[in-house]
């Protein structure tokens, strides 16, 4: 019988009202038409403010990158062009690329967007020089912003590579007094050999201090013209460091090992700064290092020609031998410790392996170890066969 369709609860069809179960479902296709309705973007652009800020930030960063990069390139090339004549008069080859087998010229090697390197060689008294133009990271917006809080300067570092026969035992450093004590502790050769000398007798600005192994060195090398040039260009001068025993900065005790200890080399290092803390970006600012570059070339020749007195030479050699012996002793102790640690580790591993073997093998191993230790500790005893009877 057909269930009633009146209002009220119908147990079979649930709580549906007004539905006649005998009704046929509507005829036609059962397809679902999905219409491509366009996304309604009208009037909602303001919700994308974060994305717009992000895009603007990327655009600003890219703009700063290209601006900073072009300023750095211009400054580096300006420095090179201005000093090329002076360097060409002093060196046969100016601007070797330092990489290819053939000698090249006039190449300012770009290490990064703010670091440029110039190699020069072909001069008596030195193997060659490396000039590093370290500019501010103008291409990086983060660095540009941090420059506001912590101003830094563009620097020029000239490292002269001296052969063993080019230079006598000279250790000399002239730098601002502020960093003198710290550097003396951190740089190995200054810590071992140099002591502070009085700067009063030299016509140097009061903010500079002198470290030297012997007064003879500072008296001879810091001549009147040198001191005058430094004084007149004090805003460009940063430091000089001459050493026949250069090994860089002191490595911390934990990490120092035999293989990491560098071989002492002979170097003359000149550090200059471009005045203005990077704010002045006209190409002409790069010309301010010319007098000091002349002084540096002059000092290279002076150091090459300088010879210590016999007495000081003997002292210097003795001192270097002492330092070398001390170092060998230190590392000897470290090497022994390392070897002992390796031996202990090996024994421990063998013991662990032995635990897993059967008792017979363990007994044989222990016997072997006992015989070994007896051989090591006791003197060798000759066996005599005595005939009895």
């Amino acid at each position: 019988p057909t269930p009633s369709v009146s209002s009220g609860i119908n147990a079979e069809y649930g709580d549906f009202e007004g539905i006649n179960p005998s009704d046929k479902p509507p005829s036609g296709k059962n397809e679902l038409n999905i219409v491509n309705a366009p996304v309604n973007m009208k009037g909602h652009w303001e919700d994308y403010y974060l994305e717009i800020i992000g895009l603007i930030g990327v655009f600003v960063y890219a703009l700063n990158f290209y601006t900073g990069k072009s300023i750095n390139n211009r400054l580096a090339n300006a420095w090179f062009e201005h000093h090329k004549k002076l360097l060409s008069d002093a060196f046969c080859i100016v601007g070797d690329d330092g990489v290819s087998k053939e000698i090249s010229e006039d190449v300012l090697v770009k290490e990064s967007e703010n670091r440029f390197v110039l190699w020069c060689t072909g001069r008596l008294g030195c193997e060659g020089i490396k000039i590093e133009i370290k500019l501010l990271r103008r291409q990086d917006l983060i660095s540009v912003l941090s420059q506001i809080f912590k101003p830094q300067s563009d620097t020029i570092t000239i490292t002269t590579y001296m052969s063993p026969e080019d230079m006598d035992s000279v250790v000399l450093a002239v730098m601002p007094r502020k960093g003198l004590k710290r550097l003396q502790q951190e740089v190995q050769d200054l810590a071992h050999f140099a002591t502070e000398k009085k700067a009063d007798k030299f016509d140097l600005p009061h903010q500079l201090g002198i470290l030297a192994e012997f007064s003879e060195v500072s008296n001879e090398l810091l001549s009147v013209p040198v001191c005058k040039t430094i004084s007149e260009n004090i805003d460009v001068f940063d430091s000089i460091h001459f050493s026949d025993y250069y090994t860089g900065f002191k490595i911390s005790q934990e990490s120092q090992t035999e293989t990491e200890r560098p071989k002492p080399v002979k170097r003359l290092i000149f550090n200059f700064v471009i005045p203005g803390h990077g704010k002045r970006t006209k190409s002409s600012i790069m010309e301010t290092t010319e007098p000091l570059l002349r002084m540096a070339l002059h000092m290279m020749t002076r150091v090459h020609k300088f010879k210590l007195s016999k007495e000081n030479k003997t002292k210097a050699e003795k001192h270097r031998i002492q330092v070398e012996e001390e170092y060998l002793k230190q590392t000897h102790a470290q090497r022994q410790e390392a070897a002992q640690a390796r031996r202990d580790e090996r024994k421990r591993m063998e013991k662990e392996k032995m635990q897993e073997l059967d008792p017979e093998a363990q007994r044989r191993y222990e016997e072997r170890e006992y015989k070994k230790s007896m051989r090591r500790s006791g003197p060798r005893v000759k066996q005599l066969k005595v005939k009895t009877g």
């Binding site: 909602h44 070797d96 860089g248």
Partner: protein, 106 residues
């Protein structure tokens, strides 16, 4: 020109002479490598976890890493971190075009 002597011409290889001991060189500044690594990490976060902010951070890290990189470094790695970060941004918005402001602040 007594200062010039051709027999003193020496070819200095940058790999040998550049070994300045103990002096922290600019080239040893690991910022570029860290930034590249961060860019890749943020890109993966953005793609897999669908964090739009991570995708944007990846783009910035890739840019910073690129601007601080040395010329001798492998450009392929820098280029790949760039492409990965841009693709993570694009994929995040293709999957869900809602703006960040609404996703995170509403």
């Amino acid at each position: 020109r007594r200062k010039r002597k051709k027999e003193r011409l020496l070819k200095m290889k940058s790999s040998g002479i550049n070994a300045e001991y103990g002096v922290p060189k600019e080239g040893e500044d690991p910022m570029a490598e860290y930034m590249n690594l961060l860019a890749m990490l943020f890109s993966m976060c953005g793609l897999m976890m669908r964090f739009k902010w991570a995708a944007w951070a990846a783009v910035y890290c890739a840019f910073i890493g690129f601007s601080n990189s040395r010329s001798s470094e492998d450009t392929k790695q820098i280029f790949s971190s760039f492409m990965l970060s841009i693709s993570s941004v694009v994929m995040s918005y293709l999957q869900s075009p809602t703006p960040m402001a609404i996703s995170y602040f509403s």
